[in-house]
């Protein structure tokens, strides 16, 4: 029961937050969350809610589906809210990929935005020529391919050095597209809207916002990514990835091929980022170097950390916070990033393991 109340509370909060127009309302809601969430945590309510959801898995899923459907329905005609929601969903897909890399196998990736970019530019180049379902897949495959070259130096380094390689790659990618005229240079490229088997997502259905279409596609992709990541975690492969992250020497002694599993995790994750990037670019209608900066990569890493490293549910929650918050703080102008950064630090101070820390693996759950 606590679980359902929790889902309802999160849904209601999301509704009011997306709905809030005036700054006092927005700030008031943020203040309520800042005070309320640690209090609920202190009295064990968050723990109780997530346990109750684990006990009743089917019920929990149905409740989440109903809550999502309600939010989509309530905002169906509003472009801004639907754009935000779709963005959160595409970022969730990409950050689930990062979770596999960083949360499971321990391969840090500070070039997440670059892999989104590979997908986005694939869309720009191929959308006029290929069926769009294929474009999404090719976007993922190309991101995975680029990643499989980057993994070579990563395998030869450890810790901070491996991180540095991905940072360098992210910067390299941005420079590459900026100076490359075939890819539109600094101006970037137009991207055709997504067209799925003759369903043109850019033409609105009735009074609905056309972004509602993208929300539906985003939901489908996120659900698919979610299922794959959860299954991966609760399998021998997930166990191997955890073992690789925690102790490479023990892995070697028990026959676990560290390189093989790092490559698998990195490729798997980059595929997700590529698919998400391809779909996201079709929604926004254009790609430019400035959309794929190091700062964007940092936001993706922050989502994984904030959600609770390795927790798939946490990723969705953190993506919502990281993406919607700065937009809602528009009126504070340049101070909004200050407040936003303070909030992220505050959350991690209260919950150092992230919003929803990962639990011990339960294969049969």
């Amino acid at each position: 029961m606590t679980g359902f109340i929790g889902i309802a509370a999160i849904a209601a909060f999301s509704y009011f937050f997306l709905h809030a127009e005036s700054q006092p309302a927005v700030l008031g809601l943020i203040a309520a969350a800042v005070v309320g969430v640690p209090l609920l945590g202190r009295f064990g309510w968050i723990e109780r809610a997530s346990r109750s959801l684990e006990a009743n898995k089917l019920g929990g899923r149905i409740a989440i589906a109903i809550a999502l459907a309600a939010i989509v329905w309530l905002f169906r005609e509003e472009n801004f809210a639907m754009l935000m929601l779709a963005s959160v969903l595409f970022y969730t897909v990409a950050c689930l990929g990062l979770t596999v890399q960083f949360g499971y196998a321990g391969v840090v990736n500070f070039a997440g935005a670059a892999f989104l970019g590979v997908g986005g530019y694939t869309s720009a180049m191929l959308a006029p020529h290929l069926p769009h379902v294929l474009v999404l897949v090719v976007g993922g495959l190309l991101a995975a391919l680029v990643g499989s070259i980057l993994i070579l130096p990563i395998l030869r380094t450890r810790g901070h050095y491996a991180a540095l390689i991905t940072v360098a790659f992210g910067i390299l990618f941005r420079q590459f597209v900026e100076v490359n005229d075939a890819l539109g240079g600094p101006q970037g490229l137009q991207v055709k809207g997504l067209d799925l088997f003759g369903w043109d997502l850019n033409s609105p259905i009735g009074e609905l916002s056309f972004y509602t279409n993208y929300v539906l596609v985003g939901l489908a992709l996120a659900a698919l990514a979610f299922m794959l990541v959860r299954r991966l975690e609760r399998s021998w492969v997930g166990l191997n990835l955890d073992a690789v992250r925690l102790d490479e020497t023990a892995c070697a002694v028990f026959g676990i091929d560290v390189a093989r599993w790092k490559i698998l995790a990195f490729t798997f994750g980059n595929f997700f980022a590529g698919v998400a990037g391809a779909a996201y670019a079709m929604m926004t209608g254009f790609v430019a170097p400035n959309s794929f900066t190091f700062a964007d990569s940092l936001i993706m890493v922050s989502i994984v950390l904030l959600g609770g490293v390795g927790n798939a549910w946490g990723v969705a929650l953190a993506a919502a916070i990281m993406l919607v918050l700065p937009e809602k703080l528009q009126a504070l102008q340049e101070y909004r990033f200050l407040l936003y950064a303070v909030l992220v630090i505050a959350i991690l101070m209260v919950r150092p393991q992230g919003l929803i820390p990962r639990r011990a693996r339960d294969y049969f759950a």
Partner: protein, 254 residues
């Protein structure tokens, strides 16, 4: 002979950590390896398991170990424990034991993602296997099979490390100071439990590094003494313990 080392040498720059070691182990034998700190005992284990590059020869059932990667050595049937526990602390007891069972699990991506029913059957069989193995060491620990290792006592962690080394049914088990950080009584119990499992795995050979002389005396049929990387004595315990050079190495008398 299951293991034959001839002139096995490990060098770190100018330091010779293991100096032309000749050592043989018969199938089913338990060999005690003793010597002061820094005498090369753990280095010997690291060389055998492929963590250190060694020159000379170490043949395991005729296969040359010095040329093999650690992963292949495990596949050939050698497992070990570590002096300082190397468990994955956030993972459950079951997960840690299954890391040791790698050889016998199916790791294909397709199988793990999409053949969930077959995976489930494999999982259930392995939960039973882990239960039975852990139960040999401690019934209380069976009830905590899905608890994170981080919350367990030192002796339980030691037991899990030994289960992890035993679960894949190895032919040679290398135990690096199983008694470290434990009382005499606990050590005694642990060694007895290992012998129980050994009964089931016919022909399991064991090399055990140990400082507790009474453990060595009780379980090993033969022992070898290392000092400064060289073997200075070998034989049954009583004979080795009476050796003048061994006493000098341990007590520093002249």
């Amino acid at each position: 002979m299951i293991l034959q080392c001839a002139g096995l040498t490990v060098r770190f720059g100018g330091l010779v950590a293991l100096d032309r070691l000749d050592l043989e182990l018969a199938q089913g034998e338990i060999l005690g390896l003793i010597g002061p700190n820094g005498s090369g005992k753990t280095t010997f284990f690291n060389a055998l398991t492929g963590l250190y590059r060694a020159s000379g020869s170490a043949a395991f059932q005729g296969e040359e170990l010095t040329q093999m990667r650690p992963q292949r050595i495990y596949g050939a049937g050698i497992t070990r424990t570590f002096q300082r526990s190397r468990l994955a602390l956030p993972l459950s007891v079951f997960d840690n034991i299954m890391i040791g069972n790698h050889r016998l699990l199916r790791h294909g991506l397709w199988f793990n993602l999409f053949r969930r029913n077959a995976l489930r059957a494999e999982l259930e069989a392995n939960v039973e296997k882990a239960r039975a193995l852990v139960g040999t060491f401690s019934q209380a620990l069976v009830g905590r099979l899905f608890d994170p290792v981080a919350g367990l006592s030192m002796i339980d962690r030691r037991r899990i490390e030994i289960c992890r080394a035993l679960v894949s049914e190895p032919k040679l088990l290398l135990l690096d100071e199983p008694s470290a950080g434990m009382t005499h009584e606990e050590t005694r119990e642990l060694m007895d439990d290992i012998l129980v499992v050994r009964e089931r795995l016919a022909g399991l050979s064991i090399v055990v590094i140990e400082h507790e002389m009474n453990v060595i005396e009780r379980v090993s049929s033969r022992c070898a003494v290392l000092n400064y990387g060289r073997k200075i004595a070998e034989g049954v315990y009583a004979q080795v313990a009476a050796d003048a050079e061994v006493q000098k190495a341990y007590l520093g008398t002249d």
